[in-house]
Amino acid sequence: MREFWVFVRKEFYHILRDRRTMMILLIMPVVMIILFGFALTTEVRNVNIGVLASEPDHAVEQILNRLDASEYFTVKERLDSPDDIDRKFRGRELDMVIAFGDHFSEKVFDPEGAAMQLVVDATNASMAQSYTAYASAIVAQYQQDMQPGAGRKGIVPNVVLMYNPQMKSSYNFVPGIMGLTLMLICALMTSIAIVKEKETGTMEVLLVSPLRPIHIIIAKMIPYFTVSCVNLLTILLLSIFVLKVPVAGSMVALCVVSLIYIIIALSLGLLVSTLVDQQIIAMLFSSMLLMVPTILLCGMIFPVESMPEILQYFSHLLPPKWYIMAVRKLMIAGLPVSFIWKEIVILIVMAVLLITISLRKFNNRLE
């Protein structure tokens, strides 16, 4: 056992001596959580509107004022002709153009209504949809308020926003960023570190030493596990104090789930390292099989339920999906542990499976 700890110490030296790598390992999560925590947002902001209206009209002005007053839209300029729209869109000066029909104020009270057209730059399909939804809501509100005779307002919804009443995007993204960051640090960095030893041949030397292969592997994992725990701590502290995303649920449960996830990620890194023998390929494997799916398939940004069914099934196989879900429920929604037993069980099963497979793979490689 003494040899084992000597070995663990050696692994720590490896990480600690390479200053630049160490910096990256510790700073990357900080930068990611702060940068992405603030910058990633699907909120609609600063949408530039152009206006096509043939004559001054007070109803048009009222609607424009409402749009301009909202935090989403800025009424930027009046266009002279519809022919300008394409040029303005292509120059990225405008995102949406609103064309009002003639005699708007008068026609508003006609049975067939006044015509209003939203021309949206739909290059980004999703944002275009949001612009329309927000603009329609403002117009609808206008109609409602213009309705003579108070009280006859139809169905009036009384809305309660659960878990994220300020509708902050960071509440949605922080769990995803946690899943991504831990996956990167643990899986990517571990796989590269082990493949590095394979590439330089030092792994061979270790394997002929009296240490058992499993001990070598565990010794290699311990420093990365430690680094990951430090990262987890920084991420949580930054989320709470800088991003102001509080941990609404049980801190203990959150840490336990995160530790399970870290173990999964480390095993994945080990698995990748047994499959390849060049660092660059380990890198490509990890980034393509772990990073890209984590960003795109695990609900970090794109909701899983909007995917085609086959991809939804596929995403069930990805650990980050369950981790992100568990963190959302625990940290953001503040649900008790009894609500996330499914995620926990799945993550534990995945951890056990991955450890077994990767250790077996590692052992096989020796023979």
Partner: protein
């Protein structure tokens, strides 16, 4: 003078490392094959838990409207709010609509009635859209009710006929938004990672020293490193264009030459950046980590995943220094808006400046002696 021989060497080595090149080219294309199906911000299938306390013809009518809506799925229907709330907590339902007792009576008698909506807003986008779709549905329902004469109204209500026209992407196909960006990710990996590793490999192997005692010029050395990746990148991007057309039927509205011009420029930017990191790294591991650090920032802040316009000012400032921001805009614009170089000259200038900056720095920072 020695450039020809160095180039020969680089190509031979690359082609001999077929596995790496294969992985490097195939993976991004696989991404292009699978990912566009996944990247979808459409909010559909919002799961609704319904609490009907009224059990009236009107409330049942409203429920039918929700069932028929493309946005909502009726997940459960109970008479007890607590049960619906448990569904929300279990993440089975996204939204609770509670119809109060006396819903029909109030609506008929007074023309107005409250309903209670409770939404899970952890995903704020889903929250906003769910709320807005539900509001619209309720409003349309009230109006339809008013018009069918159930409650004949002598007062004229204002009416705005809203028509929406989506330009450049009339079917609102989010895949079309994503594909140009995914092609860019291909270029980042080929143009950035491979060169980043390349010089460091020579450092680790010691072969770089043998080159350093030869009279070969710094410029020729860097150029010989750069050109192969540039060509591989262009080949990969051609496959990307082909895939986009074959699989997704996406052809650029603008000119292919414009696309190639910017793709070629961007590969040079990333290659220069990769070589720069390579020069400053002692080990492959370092080079990869540093490269990764930047690449992830480049991708996340490129505006591909979330809009740059919505970022806070300082983040916008950082995004302005990422080459990806310009390339995403360019590729999307040429593909969908049909933009020409004349529309994109700012992006072009910025990219050229960045390319020069990275590559010149790479040549300067490459030292033949310590």
């Amino acid at each position: 003078m020695g450039l020809k021989y160095l180039l020969e060497k680089e190509f031979k080595q690359l082609l001999r490392n077929k596995f790496m090149v294969g992985v490097a080219v195939m993976f991004p294309l696989a991404v292009l094959l699978i990912m566009p199906w996944a990247t979808n911000l459409d909010i559909k299938n919002i799961q609704v838990a319904l609490v009907d306390n009224d059990h009236s013809p009107l409330s049942r009518d409203l429920i039918r409207q929700i069932e028929h809506s493309t946005y909502f799925n009726l997940q459960s229907q109970t008479g007890i709010y607590r049960e619906a709330f448990a569904d929300l907590e279990r993440w089975d339902a996204d939204l609770i609509l509670e119809i109060p007792a006396g819903f029909e009576y109030d609506l008929v008698q007074f023309g107005t009635t409250p309903v209670q909506i409770t939404i899970n807003t952890v995903n704020s986008m889903k929250g906003v859209m769910g709320q807005s779709y539900m509001n619209e549905l309720l409003m349309q329902y009230s109006r339809a009710l008013a018009e069918t004469g159930n409650r004949p109204s002598s007062i004229v209500s204002p009416k705005v006929e809203l028509i929406t026209q989506y330009m450049y992407n009339p079917t609102l196909n989010y895949r079309f938004t994503m594909i140009p960006g995914l092609i860019m990710i291909t270029l980042i990996i080929l143009g950035g990672f491979l060169p980043a590793v390349n010089i460091v490999v020579e450092k680790e192997m010691g072969t770089i020293e043998q080159l350093n005692v030869t009279p070969i010029g710094k410029f020729a050395f860097i150029l010989a490193k750069l050109i192969p990746f540039w060509i591989i990148g262009l080949v990969a991007v051609s496959f990307g264009f082909l895939f986009a057309w074959l699989i997704y039927g996406l052809v650029p509205l603008g000119h292919f030459l414009t696309l190639y011009f910017f793709a070629a420029l961007f590969i040079l930017t990333m290659t220069g950046f990769g070589l720069l990191i390579s020069n400053h790294s002692a080990t492959i591991q370092q080079a990869l980590f540093v490269m990764f650090f930047f690449v992830i920032i480049f991708i996340m802040l490129s505006g591909l995943l979330t809009p740059i316009d919505s970022m806070p000012g300082w983040a916008k400032g950082i995004a302005a220094f990422t080459p990806t921001k310009y390339v995403v805009n360019v590729l999307q614009s040429v593909y969908l808006r049909g933009s020409t170089i004349a529309d994109l000259w700012i992006d072009m200038l910025v990219l050229i400046a960045m390319t020069l900056f990275f590559n010149i720095w790479a040549v300067i920072s490459y030292r033949k002696s310590q």
